[in-house]
């Protein structure tokens, strides 16, 4: 760095900056695959394809648990009383407001399909338990009603709904 000629300075600085920039680009491009490999691999993604569930064997009042993408999904054949209880509550009075119609598919109100993972810290709530006869989480005492909505306890939100649709009256496809 002893030279005083400014032209010389500029050319050298440009070379150093270009080399440094190339090194930065190379490093970033190297780190990309090292991080990307941690995402789900192709077999995991393929195994997470939609599943079909036959509803015919589920008796009224019964709730079954199926697994989709490693998550427990509750499929609950609700009784008339349970539907009425869920509908009777004004949505605005709830911690996470949602009407029963928003929690179910139109024309299939007897079917509640929710992801059975407590929105507090990820435990699995027990069906048909708690003060609201919906779901009760044994870990920290969150209570959900018969539409899977949070009513009491530390959980901040309703049980999430998985993407699903009715293929027929007796079969749903989750995913």
């Amino acid at each position: 760095m002893t030279t005083t000629a400014s032209a010389e300075h500029t050319r050298r600085d440009f070379l150093y900056i270009a080399t440094g920039a190339a090194a930065a680009i190379g490093t970033a491009a190297t780190i990309w695959p090292l991080i990307s490999q941690m995402n789900p691999d192709a077999s995991t993604i393929a195994a997470g394809a939609p599943i079909k569930v036959d509803l015919a064997p589920i008796a009224e009042g019964q709730a079954i648990k199926v697994f989709w993408r490693g998550k427990p999904i509750y499929i609950w054949h609700r009784t008339k009383k349970e539907i009425d209880e869920a509908k009777a509550v004004p949505a605005s009075s709830l911690p996470d407001p949602a009407t029963d119609a928003q929690r179910t598919k139109e024309g299939h109100e007897q079917w509640l399909v929710v992801i059975g993972i407590c929105t507090h810290l990820g435990c699995i709530p027990i069906a048909h338990e708690g003060d609201f006869q919906g779901f009760f989480c044994p870990c920290h005492g969150s209570q959900y009603d018969t539409a899977g909505r949070i009513r009491r306890g530390p959980a901040p939100a309703n049980l999430p709904l998985p993407p699903y649709e009715f293929a027929s009256d007796t079969q749903i496809q989750i995913g």
Partner: protein
Amino acid sequence: MSGPSTFQPQNPVLKWIERRLPIMGLVHGSFVAYPTPRNLNYWWTFGGILSFMLVVQIVTGVILAMHYTPHADMAFNSVEGIVRDVNFGWLLRYLHSNGASMFFIAVYIHMLRGLYYGSYKEPREILWILGVIIYLLMMATGFMGYVLPWGQMSFWGATVITNLFSAIPWVGDSIVTLLWGGYSVGNPTLNRFFSLHYLLPFLILGVVILHVWALHVAGQNNPAGVEPKSDQDTVPFTPYATVKDAFGLCCFLLFYAWFIFFIPNYLGDPDNYVQANPAVTPAHIVPEWYYLPFYAILRSIPNKLGGVVCMFGAIIVLAFLPWLDTARTRSSRYRPLAKQFFWLFVIVCLGLGYLGAQPPEGIYVIAGRILTVCYFAYFLIVLPLLSRVETPKTLPNSIADDVLAKTGSLAKPMVSTALAIAVIGALTFGGGLKAQAADEHDSAPPSLKWSFAGPFGKFNEGQLQRGYKVYKEVCSNCHSMNQLHFRNLADPGGPGFSTAQALAVASEAKVQDGPNDAGEMFERPGRLADKFPSPFANEQAARAANGGAAPPDLSLMAKARGYERGFPQFIFDAFLQFQEKGPNYIAAILQGYDAAPAGFALPEGSNYNKYFPGHAIKMPKPLSDGQVTFDDGSPQTVQQYATDVAAFLMWAAEPALVARKRIGVQVMIFLIIFAGLLYFTKRKVWAAAH
């Protein structure tokens, strides 16, 4: 690592830290201000390259361990899962497997550099011995790593190497049982090798730190072999050595990338793409190339214990080098005889390496014995005696004098360059002749033109679709393809099925699933996530239905079969990116059925095949003209079927091939530009020093 530092930070926070933990001073003293001889040549960049390779191996290894399953039943498939399904998994696996080879190439150059320039001599004995320890640890790590994919060579390599210890008198068998954790190489062996393979690199890292510490205490040796006397003789590590090392490393990365992206399986053995089978030993067991010289020494000694002792002795003798070489002059540059013996020693090592890969019979055994004697004679006879008969040339007064003297003559390097070019030219010419001769030889499969060969190679969708049709209508009646899933048919770079088409193929298949709520297994239509169905329920059923020979799984067939290309053709294959032994072989086998020549004793239930090793193959001629209908107007001949199905099997074995070559070209372009920038930066930086 060179005593108390003069580094004084100005920032009060840094000052506070530095007073309590002088880590910045340590780094500054070791890697910035550290004086490095100004006459170091590019052979000295391999120390930095080795440090870099250790980091590469640890990083990629930690990542691979996230996806790998160390279980005898699952290891092989989990490695294939990494290559096929994990994002950039093929890259990470090839980085790691070829990284081991690069590590050894670099360490051999580093060791030979030390040997040539006398870097082991006083006061660098401990530095050298630490290096020998690192080398031993590397060998152990490399060996255990090679076992982890649980292929045939993994398994039988593990068996052979662990059996080395059974040569130890009295306690040998107990030691071998201890290594195995069972009565033979099996799941416990794999588990402990995985654990140790994860551990040893960190031990290497520890010894490397000691190695660098010892280096920074004694100071670097240099090509002149005289110690620096004044500031004139040295330059600060940063920026001078740093930028030079960076340029050397970038050139090395170009070499490394060539292997990863274009010839990733060149240094591997096809047999390791066959899952470990304790019932069948491969016809020809060879270790990885970096162990070959020592393997040749082992086989040269016609006594079990003697062979093992000599093999380990060949490495241990290195540790005694500082005392075996009695000359006072360090650098071979000033030792006319030592220089010649050094190059002879290099040739002996290469020769042993070549012999280690040959079958242990006839002339190879005799040559191996001669070279083994030469190897030990170099250390035990030549080096101790040489100093008594040799008159060294006059050493330069100082490193600065050496640098000034060198800027004169260019004639000598030009002569050696011309000689090297002449040798390469002669080899190329000879190789061309030999390749022609090999093509005429009856049992070497002819080299076909493949669309996926070369740096820009791509699979031909139409060909893969036809190949799939041949596989489905013919091969799949007997052969499974366990690594392939229906979803793969729609993968980019493959046969180009749409997802709907792949789903249609899948739903034609019946897949067993269950148990259902009643505890019973049931059949359902296939899904995209399902594997290609197997024609037989298990290996025993396959064996029973096929006259005692189970048809092998075809998923990796195009990488699991090879043939000898001979010397020097195999060297040109690396330059020409020849990686198509498998498809050549498959296409040849399918067309190689013929009437057995007179006098050939064909065993009962076998068929004569020109290209099958031994010529007696259990599989009857599978293809005949017109057997499979092509919709695209391609000729419906055995030749067309055979090449199409061989191309399909190449895709099945290496589904990421197209992505690999595309990224490879991009990486090469980047590295060439980066190397150019580093070269000019290096010239600018060093301009002030000359």
